[in-house]
């Protein structure tokens, strides 16, 4: 618990330092953004404007060898701008929870049944909050929340302390979402077969490239690092995806993920998922 306290205080201090540098940075105009009316520039931000909402819905399909379509899950996330600085989200997808695409198989509304890989129908949920630290060409937000990693027994709850950043210039954007997950419940295993809830560090890094006005290509790599048995359990997933912006409100996309392309396990390219998603802004 002492470690937990230290980490929480460190995170709060880090957020405070970042917030102290909260100067508004007018981003350079980029080819990917519409020119601002009146000749102004446009700023990226990682929170919603006050009163706006975004609904993300993902269909996650396991495409692993010998386990194709087992399971299939649907993970809706909804984000709401409480103020121009603070956005809260009710999140079911691993994408929304951690920033990693396609790594959570069987999350949330798991539709294919327990015989087809679902631990339970409603397996994960998280309450997430983002507080804007900086907007502009380099946008930052503090990100944290409570993640229910498993609603079924044993109940697993983690505290998320992180940040999310986005840099963009012209057609290129780079995003990173480092976060520390602190196991709040089920920190110790009941028996040898039990998998305990562990503290972990996740650092997804994504590169996005606007190939056309409505088409964006994305590639993501990152590090999933349990703080115990790190050498045996770390994962480096790789995702490749494409998005199509239907209109100003709707964006659709799909991503193919090697969940453990490199890591402590030996699955290699065998563990694969497909994520089909849509994002609708209200």
């Amino acid at each position: 618990m002492r470690l937990l306290l230290v980490l929480v205080l460190s995170w709060i201090a880090a957020v405070g330092v970042a917030h102290a540098d909260d100067g508004s940075d007018a981003g350079s105009a980029d080819a990917g953004s519409a020119a601002a009316p009146g000749g102004g520039s446009s700023d990226d931000q990682l929170v919603l404007p006050k009163g706006r909402a975004v609904l993300d819905a993902f269909l996650q399909v396991n495409l692993s060898a010998n386990e194709a379509f087992k399971p299939i899950s649907v993970t809706p996330d909804i984000w709401y701008g409480v103020s121009d600085k603070l956005t809260v989200g009710l999140v079911h997808s691993t994408w929304g929870e951690t920033g990693f695409v396609g790594t959570g198989i069987g999350n949330s509304l798991c539709l294919s049944g327990s015989s087809n890989g679902c631990a339970s129908v409603y397996h994960t949920v998280a309450l997430d909050g983002r507080y804007e630290l900086k907007r502009g060409a380099w946008a930052w937000a503090a990100d944290g929340g409570l993640d229910v990693i498993s609603t079924s027994s044993p109940f697993e709850l983690s505290l998320k302390l992180g940040a999310v950043g986005r840099w963009h210039k012209d057609k290129l954007a780079v995003e990173l979402e480092p976060a520390l997950y602190i196991a709040v419940s089920h920190r110790s295993a009941d028996n040898a077969m039990d998998v305990q809830n562990r503290d972990a560090l996740a650092v997804p890094v994504t590169v996005l490239y606007a190939a056309a006005p409505k088409i964006t290509l994305a590639a993501q790599v990152g590090l999933l690092l349990p703080l115990e048995d790190t050498g045996d359990e770390y994962d480096i997933p790789l995702s490749l995806g494409v998005h199509y912006r239907v209109n100003e409100k709707l964006d659709v996309g799909l991503a193919f993920t090697f969940v453990e392309l490199v890591g402590g396990g030996d699955s290699g390219a065998d563990l694969r998922t497909l994520t089909i998603g849509a994002s609708y802004a209200f």
């Binding site: 007018a26 990917g32 953004s33 519409a34 601002a36 009316p37 009146g38 102004g40 520039s41 446009s42 700023d43 990226d44 931000q45 990682l46 929170v47 404007p49 009163g51 706006r52 909402a53 975004v54 609904l55 993300d56 996330d77 909804i78 984000w79 709401y80 956005t87 989200g89 009710l90 994408w95 929304g96 920033g99 339970s120 409603y122 397996h123 949920v125 907007r135 229910v148 609603t151 079924s152 027994s153 986005r166 954007a173 995003e175 990173l176 979402e177 994504t206 996005l208 964006t216 994305a218 993501q220 995806g241 998005h243 100003e248 409100k249 964006d251 996309g253 994002s279 802004a281 209200f282």
Partner: protein
């Protein structure tokens, strides 16, 4: 059972959040494709153009001071008394502006061929001394005008002393009005 309770709570939350949203698409913000959702891009209003402050309208020219001297058919009227030192023919400095205007009129009106400068006094003192004083005062005025470029041939002088008073010599104000200089046009070129 626990997962069902959480599911119901989550769906309730979703419904509540969705019902709270505003669909103000006119706002200058739009979502951008991101893998760290949600991300928006918002317009930053350009600072208002610097509009040059309109030049204030030029101040109207100050109203012309009332003329101290005007030309009539047979005389040059002066609006103020030409003042001299008491008992002296020495012109007071504040009266020079009156004579400057008289000089200006004479310069601009060459048709005024001859002007008689007439000096008057009040009734205090002897008649003869007043006459002498008024003559001297008229000559002082003539000299001033000549110095201003008026030909002395156009100017004559005459001292009337206390004759022809225009006001009551029994009062200070009346006596002040009687101590005066008049400019009588003796000859004027009608052709001009």
């Amino acid at each position: 059972m626990r997962s069902k309770i959480i599911l119901v709570a989550a769906l309730g939350g979703l419904t509540t959040l969705a019902s709270c949203t505003k669909t103000d698409l006119a706002a200058p913000c739009h979502p951008v494709t991101s893998w760290s959702m949600p991300a928006f891009r918002c317009s930053v209003a350009a600072p208002p153009p610097v509009v040059a402050k309109p030049e204030p309208p030029p101040e109207p020219p100050p109203p012309e001071p009332p003329k101290k001297a005007t030309l009539t058919q047979d005389k040059i009227e002066v609006g103020e008394i030409v003042e001299f030192e008491t008992g002296s023919a020495k012109l007071k400095p504040e009266s020079t502006s009156i004579l400057d205007e008289v000089a200006k009129i004479l310069t601009e009106h060459a048709d005024v061929k001859k002007v008689q400068i007439e000096g008057y006094t009040d009734s205090q003192g002897s008649k003869s001394s007043n006459k002498t004083l008024s003559q001297h005062r008229a000559e002082t005025v003539k000299k001033y005008l000549v110095d201003k470029g008026i030909s002395d041939k156009r100017l004559t002088t005459k001292g009337f002393g206390q004759d022809n008073p225009v006001a009551d010599n029994g009062t200070d104000d009346g006596r002040h009005q009687n101590r005066r200089v008049e400019f009588k046009i003796l000859e004027r070129d009608a052709a001009q």
